[in-house]
Amino acid sequence: VTLKIEQLYDQYFEFIYLRCVRLVNNPEVAEELCQDTFIKASKSLYRFVPGATHKTWLYTIATNVCLNWLKKASNKKESLMSENLPEPGHSGESWTIEWSMLVEKSLDRSEMQLFALKFLDELTNEEISEQLKCTKRTVINRLNTLKDKVSKTLGEDNPYAARMEV
């Protein structure tokens, strides 16, 4: 089904905003990134994506937009926990010190994406495989690699390692 960007905006804005605020935990930044998501979608392939729902597709773009922002903020040495993100906990308890440490210190973009889907969105491995369009086996393999990296940054007794056991 072909939808115009206005229709996508009307239907999914709130959902995408919630996705952004959960990742960056700052309402003002989330608002900006949410708009950026729809602008990217409008310039992009929304009429042509085969086999993906508009919701899934926008969700992926939003995730990429937010993770890019987080990575850039981290590269600029702006503290993700300081005044740039003034309301920790605003979108829920999902924003953690550990998440910001991982973004700043160790994870690349695809690992951040996997981490966000697993621990911020709390998706099951099956739901993650649907999101990333890969097999469940691939998700498990990638989680194993992620577990090692997370443990190196946060220590062996970090709260995520056990949840990555498969």
């Binding site: 960007i5 206005e6 905006y9 239907q11 999914y12 804005f13 709130e14 959902f15 905003y17 919630l18 996705r19 605020v21 959960r22 309402p27 608002e31 949410c34 708009q35 729809f38 602008i39 990217k40 409008s42 310039k43 992009s44 392939l45 929304y46 009429r47 042509f48 994506v49 085969p50 086999g51 993906a52 919701k55 899934t56 597709w57 969700y59 992926t60 773009i61 995730t63 990429n64 937009v65 605003h90 979108s91 829920g92 308890e93 999902s94 994406q113 911020l120 969105d121 709390e122 998706l123 099951t124 739901e127 999101q131 990333l132 369009k133």
Partner: protein, 245 residues
């Protein structure tokens, strides 16, 4: 019973189908963590409603789809589809692959008049109708269908690059004759995996960085194969160079 935060977001936004709504309602009745998240999400939802009005103008004023611009060349879809040179391991009869211990490129296909191999030994150019070796150079001659052409290479792992002999990041301007001999060549390297070349015709200059950004933004929602199907379905000539070790 617990449900994901994404499901709760969908519930709050009224995007869940009925059969899934029941599951979330049940979880919200039983799961304290879910209830707490629901409360926070409802507050964020109110902020989202306010933000929605503020952002509308900026979003709707953004420029049109990149693909609208590519297809301004307006050539017939049927013709474009016929022009597809589809070369791939496991995808058709016309194949190009590296095989055997010497990494030999083997090609069989009907479109060989458009693809040439330049020998590294003596510089001679021959149609790609047989074997080629790693290190040899592949050259292309393409039909002129529009004013500009941009050749994009996409590896299966999402790495995007452009093929422009002038080192420019913009489209190549095509001449007035019916066929265009693209200057420069692509060296067959030891890359193990699929690399696809997309020939994007347009009436306006296209910028490689813009295309690259589109692909990277969509990566995850689109695989390399999806992207290829997408382009082919919309009339972009595709050349896949599959290399196996």
């Amino acid at each position: 019973m617990k449900v994901s935060k994404m499901k709760i977001d969908e519930y709050v936004c009224g995007l869940l189908p009925n059969e899934e709504k029941d599951t979330v309602v049940k979880a919200l009745a039983e799961c304290e963590e879910c209830k707490a998240y629901l409360q926070i999400t409802q507050m964020s939802f109110d902020k989202a409603r306010a933000a929605k009005g503020r952002g509308r103008e900026r979003v709707l004023a953004s420029s049109p789809s990149l693909f609208d611009r590519i297809f301004k060349s307006g050539f017939q879809l049927s013709y474009a589809v016929a022009a597809i040179v589809f070369v791939g391991v496991g995808f058709g009869l016309r194949q190009m692959q590296l095989q055997g211990p010497e990494n030999v490129v083997y090609y069989k296909g009907a479109e060989s008049e458009r693809v040439f191999i330049k020998s590294v030994d003596d510089g001679s150019v021959r149609p790609l109708a047989g074997d080629a070796k790693v290190g040899e150079l592949v050259k292309f001659k393409v039909p002129v269908k529009a004013k500009y052409l941009l050749v994009l290479a996409l590896q299966e792992n999402g790495v995007v690059s452009n093929f422009n002999p002038d080192q420019s990041t913009k489209s190549i301007q095509l001449g007035s004759s019916t066929m265009f001999d693209i200057p420069g060549s692509i060296r067959l390297d030891n890359y193990s995996g699929q690399e696809s070349l997309y020939f994007l015709y347009s009436q306006d200059l296209l910028d490689f960085q813009e295309l690259k950004s589109v692909i990277e933004d969509n990566w995850g929602a689109l695989s390399a194969k999806d992207f290829g199907s997408l382009l082919e379905a919309n009339g972009v000539t595709t050349w896949s160079v599959h290399k196996l070790r």
